[in-house]
Protein backbone atom coordinates (compact mmCIF):
# COMPACT_ATOMS: atom_id res chain seq x y z
CA UNK A 1 0.00 0.00 0.00
CA UNK A 2 2.78 2.45 0.91
CA UNK A 3 4.55 1.79 -2.40
CA UNK A 4 1.29 2.55 -4.19
CA UNK A 5 0.84 5.76 -2.17
CA UNK A 6 4.38 6.89 -2.99
CA UNK A 7 3.80 6.15 -6.66
CA UNK A 8 0.53 8.14 -6.76
CA UNK A 9 2.11 11.06 -4.91
CA UNK A 10 4.89 11.22 -7.50
CA UNK A 11 2.53 11.56 -10.47
CA UNK A 12 2.23 14.94 -12.13
CA UNK A 13 -1.55 14.75 -11.71
CA UNK A 14 -1.14 14.49 -7.93
CA UNK A 15 1.23 17.48 -7.97
CA UNK A 16 -1.23 19.46 -10.07
CA UNK A 17 -4.09 18.76 -7.60
CA UNK A 18 -2.01 19.71 -4.58
CA UNK A 19 -0.12 22.71 -5.90
CA UNK A 20 -2.79 24.48 -7.98
CA UNK A 21 -4.53 26.23 -5.11
CA UNK A 22 -7.90 26.52 -6.90
CA UNK A 23 -8.31 22.77 -7.63
CA UNK A 24 -9.13 21.62 -4.10
CA UNK A 25 -11.73 24.32 -3.20
CA UNK A 26 -13.38 23.93 -6.62
CA UNK A 27 -13.66 20.16 -6.24
CA UNK A 28 -14.96 20.54 -2.68
CA UNK A 29 -17.68 22.88 -3.89
CA UNK A 30 -18.82 20.36 -6.49
CA UNK A 31 -18.49 17.54 -3.94
CA UNK A 32 -21.03 19.40 -1.73
CA UNK A 33 -23.36 20.04 -4.69
CA UNK A 34 -23.24 16.32 -5.54
CA UNK A 35 -23.85 15.52 -1.87
CA UNK A 36 -27.00 17.66 -1.88
CA UNK A 37 -28.30 15.96 -5.05
CA UNK A 38 -27.74 12.48 -3.62
CA UNK A 39 -29.16 13.24 -0.15
CA UNK A 40 -32.13 15.21 -1.51
CA UNK A 41 -33.13 13.13 -4.53
CA UNK A 42 -32.26 9.66 -3.25
CA UNK A 43 -33.62 10.58 0.17
CA UNK A 44 -36.94 11.59 -1.40
CA UNK A 45 -37.14 8.27 -3.28
CA UNK A 46 -36.17 6.38 -0.11
CA UNK A 47 -38.95 8.03 1.87
CA UNK A 48 -41.50 7.13 -0.85
CA UNK A 49 -40.16 3.55 -0.81
CA UNK A 50 -40.71 3.58 2.96
CA UNK A 51 -44.35 4.55 2.42
CA UNK A 52 -44.27 8.32 2.93
CA UNK A 53 -45.72 10.84 0.40
CA UNK A 54 -48.21 8.22 -0.84
CA UNK A 55 -50.03 10.73 -3.05
CA UNK A 56 -46.96 10.80 -5.26
CA UNK A 57 -46.63 7.98 -7.85
CA UNK A 58 -43.43 6.12 -6.97
CA UNK A 59 -42.31 5.47 -10.55
CA UNK A 60 -42.52 9.24 -11.19
CA UNK A 61 -40.09 9.83 -8.30
CA UNK A 62 -37.78 7.31 -9.97
CA UNK A 63 -37.53 9.70 -12.95
CA UNK A 64 -35.43 11.95 -10.70
CA UNK A 65 -32.76 9.26 -10.27
CA UNK A 66 -30.65 10.15 -13.35
CA UNK A 67 -29.98 13.50 -11.65
CA UNK A 68 -29.04 11.74 -8.41
CA UNK A 69 -26.68 9.52 -10.41
CA UNK A 70 -25.17 12.66 -11.99
CA UNK A 71 -24.60 13.97 -8.44
CA UNK A 72 -23.00 10.67 -7.42
CA UNK A 73 -20.70 10.63 -10.47
CA UNK A 74 -19.70 14.22 -9.69
CA UNK A 75 -18.67 13.03 -6.24
CA UNK A 76 -16.91 9.97 -7.55
CA UNK A 77 -14.78 12.19 -9.81
CA UNK A 78 -14.10 14.92 -7.23
CA UNK A 79 -13.51 12.29 -4.53
CA UNK A 80 -11.09 10.53 -6.87
CA UNK A 81 -9.25 13.85 -7.31
CA UNK A 82 -8.92 14.22 -3.51
CA UNK A 83 -7.62 10.66 -3.33
CA UNK A 84 -5.00 11.23 -6.03
CA UNK A 85 -3.98 14.50 -4.37
CA UNK A 86 -3.47 13.07 -0.90
CA UNK A 87 -3.63 9.25 -1.05
CA UNK A 88 -1.79 8.89 2.29
CA UNK A 89 -4.48 10.96 4.04
CA UNK A 90 -7.32 8.65 2.97
CA UNK A 91 -5.84 5.18 2.56
CA UNK A 92 -4.35 5.30 6.06
CA UNK A 93 -7.58 6.52 7.67
CA UNK A 94 -10.05 3.96 9.08
CA UNK A 95 -12.70 6.67 8.85
CA UNK A 96 -12.28 6.80 5.07
CA UNK A 97 -12.59 3.01 4.88
CA UNK A 98 -15.83 3.28 6.88
CA UNK A 99 -17.05 5.73 4.25
CA UNK A 100 -16.12 3.25 1.52
CA UNK A 101 -17.89 0.46 3.43
CA UNK A 102 -21.09 2.52 3.69
CA UNK A 103 -20.81 3.37 -0.02
CA UNK A 104 -20.56 -0.36 -0.76
CA UNK A 105 -23.66 -1.05 1.34
CA UNK A 106 -25.54 1.73 -0.48
CA UNK A 107 -24.42 0.31 -3.83
CA UNK A 108 -25.33 -3.30 -2.99
CA UNK A 109 -28.68 -2.14 -1.65
CA UNK A 110 -29.35 -0.26 -4.92
CA UNK A 111 -28.47 -3.44 -6.81
CA UNK A 112 -30.90 -5.48 -4.69
CA UNK A 113 -33.54 -2.82 -5.41
CA UNK A 114 -33.00 -3.05 -9.18
CA UNK A 115 -33.22 -6.85 -9.08
CA UNK A 116 -36.32 -7.02 -6.87
CA UNK A 117 -38.72 -4.17 -6.05
CA UNK A 118 -37.43 -2.00 -8.90
CA UNK A 119 -38.68 -4.49 -11.48
CA UNK A 120 -42.29 -4.20 -10.36
CA UNK A 121 -42.37 -0.57 -9.30
CA UNK A 122 -45.25 0.15 -11.68
CA UNK A 123 -47.48 -2.08 -9.54
CA UNK A 124 -47.32 0.47 -6.72
CA UNK A 125 -49.86 3.15 -7.66
CA UNK A 126 -50.31 6.65 -6.27
CA UNK A 127 -51.99 6.32 -2.88
CA UNK A 128 -50.64 2.78 -2.31
CA UNK A 129 -48.56 1.76 0.66
CA UNK A 130 -45.33 -0.06 -0.20
CA UNK A 131 -44.41 -3.70 0.55
CA UNK A 132 -42.13 -4.51 3.50
CA UNK A 133 -39.21 -5.26 1.15
CA UNK A 134 -39.45 -1.78 -0.38
CA UNK A 135 -39.59 -0.19 3.07
CA UNK A 136 -36.49 -2.10 4.13
CA UNK A 137 -34.55 -1.12 0.98
CA UNK A 138 -35.58 2.52 1.43
CA UNK A 139 -34.47 2.56 5.07
CA UNK A 140 -31.13 0.87 4.34
CA UNK A 141 -30.49 3.36 1.54
CA UNK A 142 -31.30 6.37 3.71
CA UNK A 143 -29.14 5.17 6.61
CA UNK A 144 -26.21 4.19 4.38
CA UNK A 145 -26.13 7.53 2.48
CA UNK A 146 -26.35 9.50 5.73
CA UNK A 147 -23.51 7.26 6.96
CA UNK A 148 -21.43 8.11 3.89
CA UNK A 149 -21.96 11.81 4.67
CA UNK A 150 -21.18 11.29 8.38
CA UNK A 151 -17.90 9.43 7.81
CA UNK A 152 -16.87 11.94 5.16
CA UNK A 153 -17.45 14.83 7.56
CA UNK A 154 -15.59 12.99 10.34
CA UNK A 155 -12.43 12.57 8.22
CA UNK A 156 -10.65 15.59 9.78
CA UNK A 157 -11.79 14.72 13.32
CA UNK A 158 -11.51 10.97 13.87
CA UNK A 159 -8.67 8.57 13.37
CA UNK A 160 -5.58 9.96 11.68
CA UNK A 161 -6.08 13.71 11.68
CA UNK A 162 -5.49 15.51 8.39
Amino acid sequence: MDAFITWVQATSLSHFIVFQIWVWPLCETFHFVGLALVIGLVGFFDLRLMGFFRRIPIDAVRELMPFAIAGFLTNLVTGGIFLIGHPEQYLHSWVWWMKVLFLAVAGLNALVFELTVGKHLGLIKAGDDTPVGAKLIGAVSLVSWLGVLYWGRMLPFLGQAF
Binding site: P25, T29, A36, L37, A60
Partner: protein, 154 residues
Amino acid sequence: MLAWLEGTALATWTRESPSIWAYPLVLTLHTVGLGIVVGASAVIDLRLLGVARRISMPSLAPLFRITLWAFVLNTLTGVLLFIADATHKAGQTVFYIKLGLIALALWNTVLARRVVLGPTQNDAAPSSRHSRLAVVSLLLWFGAITAGRLMAYL
Protein backbone atom coordinates in the same frame (compact mmCIF):
# COMPACT_ATOMS: atom_id res chain seq x y z
CA MET B 1 -19.60 42.32 20.78
CA LEU B 2 -17.98 39.66 18.52
CA ALA B 3 -15.30 38.93 21.09
CA TRP B 4 -18.01 38.64 23.76
CA LEU B 5 -19.93 36.18 21.55
CA GLU B 6 -16.78 34.12 21.10
CA GLY B 7 -16.23 34.10 24.86
CA THR B 8 -19.68 32.77 25.79
CA ALA B 9 -19.84 29.30 27.28
CA LEU B 10 -21.78 28.01 24.27
CA ALA B 11 -19.20 29.31 21.78
CA THR B 12 -16.34 27.94 23.85
CA TRP B 13 -18.02 24.54 24.08
CA THR B 14 -18.64 24.42 20.32
CA ARG B 15 -15.05 25.38 19.55
CA GLU B 16 -12.98 23.73 22.24
CA SER B 17 -14.81 20.71 23.63
CA PRO B 18 -12.80 17.61 22.73
CA SER B 19 -16.11 15.74 22.50
CA ILE B 20 -17.09 14.36 19.12
CA TRP B 21 -20.56 15.74 19.99
CA ALA B 22 -19.37 19.33 19.87
CA TYR B 23 -17.84 20.89 16.74
CA PRO B 24 -17.83 17.70 14.58
CA LEU B 25 -21.51 16.97 15.30
CA VAL B 26 -22.57 20.57 14.72
CA LEU B 27 -20.67 20.59 11.42
CA THR B 28 -22.18 17.24 10.38
CA LEU B 29 -25.71 18.44 11.17
CA HIS B 30 -25.01 21.63 9.18
CA THR B 31 -23.98 19.44 6.21
CA VAL B 32 -27.02 17.15 6.53
CA GLY B 33 -29.22 20.27 6.65
CA LEU B 34 -27.49 21.60 3.53
CA GLY B 35 -28.19 18.31 1.76
CA ILE B 36 -31.87 18.42 2.71
CA VAL B 37 -32.44 22.13 1.97
CA VAL B 38 -30.63 22.15 -1.37
CA GLY B 39 -31.65 18.60 -2.31
CA ALA B 40 -35.36 19.07 -1.58
CA SER B 41 -35.23 22.41 -3.39
CA ALA B 42 -33.62 20.63 -6.34
CA VAL B 43 -36.55 18.17 -6.45
CA ILE B 44 -38.98 21.10 -6.63
CA ASP B 45 -36.79 22.87 -9.22
CA LEU B 46 -36.55 19.77 -11.42
CA ARG B 47 -40.32 19.35 -11.28
CA LEU B 48 -40.74 23.04 -12.24
CA LEU B 49 -38.42 22.38 -15.18
CA GLY B 50 -40.70 19.58 -16.37
CA VAL B 51 -38.94 16.49 -14.98
CA ALA B 52 -41.21 13.78 -13.50
CA ARG B 53 -44.39 15.55 -14.63
CA ARG B 54 -46.63 12.85 -13.19
CA ILE B 55 -45.81 14.29 -9.76
CA SER B 56 -48.62 16.80 -9.25
CA MET B 57 -47.37 20.18 -8.04
CA PRO B 58 -49.56 20.33 -4.89
CA SER B 59 -48.28 16.92 -3.77
CA LEU B 60 -44.84 18.57 -3.33
CA ALA B 61 -46.17 20.49 -0.30
CA PRO B 62 -44.36 18.24 2.25
CA LEU B 63 -41.02 19.09 0.61
CA PHE B 64 -41.48 22.77 1.46
CA ARG B 65 -42.11 21.80 5.09
CA ILE B 66 -39.04 19.55 5.13
CA THR B 67 -36.96 22.34 3.58
CA LEU B 68 -38.19 24.74 6.28
CA TRP B 69 -37.25 22.39 9.12
CA ALA B 70 -33.84 21.66 7.61
CA PHE B 71 -33.36 25.41 7.21
CA VAL B 72 -34.18 25.92 10.91
CA LEU B 73 -31.58 23.23 11.74
CA ASN B 74 -28.99 25.05 9.64
CA THR B 75 -29.81 28.42 11.16
CA LEU B 76 -29.23 26.97 14.65
CA THR B 77 -26.06 25.05 13.74
CA GLY B 78 -24.90 28.02 11.63
CA VAL B 79 -25.24 30.36 14.63
CA LEU B 80 -23.14 27.94 16.72
CA LEU B 81 -20.45 27.71 14.04
CA PHE B 82 -20.46 31.50 13.73
CA ILE B 83 -20.16 32.36 17.42
CA ALA B 84 -17.39 29.77 17.85
CA ASP B 85 -15.27 31.86 15.44
CA ALA B 86 -17.10 35.20 15.39
CA THR B 87 -14.22 37.69 15.06
CA HIS B 88 -12.77 35.79 12.10
CA LYS B 89 -16.00 34.99 10.24
CA ALA B 90 -17.44 38.49 10.74
CA GLY B 91 -14.43 39.83 8.86
CA GLN B 92 -14.94 37.58 5.84
CA THR B 93 -16.61 39.23 2.83
CA VAL B 94 -17.53 35.80 1.46
CA PHE B 95 -19.56 35.14 4.63
CA TYR B 96 -21.82 38.12 3.85
CA ILE B 97 -22.07 36.97 0.22
CA LYS B 98 -23.21 33.56 1.50
CA LEU B 99 -25.86 35.15 3.76
CA GLY B 100 -27.07 37.37 0.90
CA LEU B 101 -27.37 34.43 -1.51
CA ILE B 102 -29.27 32.40 1.10
CA ALA B 103 -31.67 35.31 1.70
CA LEU B 104 -32.34 35.58 -2.05
CA ALA B 105 -32.74 31.80 -2.36
CA LEU B 106 -35.29 31.79 0.49
CA TRP B 107 -37.26 34.61 -1.12
CA ASN B 108 -37.22 32.66 -4.38
CA THR B 109 -38.48 29.56 -2.51
CA VAL B 110 -41.39 31.58 -1.09
CA LEU B 111 -42.29 32.69 -4.64
CA ALA B 112 -41.92 29.13 -5.96
CA ARG B 113 -44.17 27.83 -3.16
CA ARG B 114 -46.91 30.21 -4.25
CA VAL B 115 -46.65 28.94 -7.82
CA VAL B 116 -46.39 25.24 -6.90
CA LEU B 117 -49.19 25.22 -4.32
CA GLY B 118 -51.28 28.02 -5.83
CA PRO B 119 -54.71 27.39 -7.32
CA THR B 120 -53.70 28.29 -10.88
CA GLN B 121 -50.80 25.88 -11.12
CA ASN B 122 -50.77 23.86 -14.29
CA ASP B 123 -49.54 20.28 -14.29
CA ALA B 124 -48.90 20.11 -18.02
CA ALA B 125 -46.12 22.04 -19.72
CA PRO B 126 -43.73 24.12 -17.63
CA SER B 127 -44.19 27.85 -18.16
CA SER B 128 -41.31 30.29 -18.56
CA ARG B 129 -42.14 31.55 -15.05
CA HIS B 130 -41.68 28.01 -13.71
CA SER B 131 -38.35 27.62 -15.47
CA ARG B 132 -37.15 31.02 -14.28
CA LEU B 133 -37.93 30.25 -10.63
CA ALA B 134 -36.20 26.86 -10.91
CA VAL B 135 -33.04 28.12 -12.61
CA VAL B 136 -32.70 31.07 -10.21
CA SER B 137 -33.13 28.67 -7.25
CA LEU B 138 -30.48 26.25 -8.54
CA LEU B 139 -28.01 29.09 -9.24
CA LEU B 140 -28.55 30.77 -5.85
CA TRP B 141 -28.09 27.53 -3.87
CA PHE B 142 -25.02 26.66 -5.95
CA GLY B 143 -23.65 30.12 -5.14
CA ALA B 144 -24.42 29.72 -1.43
CA ILE B 145 -22.58 26.36 -1.32
CA THR B 146 -19.62 27.88 -3.18
CA ALA B 147 -19.43 30.85 -0.78
CA GLY B 148 -19.74 28.52 2.22
CA ARG B 149 -16.92 26.31 0.99
CA LEU B 150 -14.72 29.33 0.22
CA MET B 151 -15.07 30.48 3.85
CA ALA B 152 -12.69 27.65 4.72
CA TYR B 153 -10.07 28.88 2.23
CA LEU B 154 -10.17 32.69 2.00
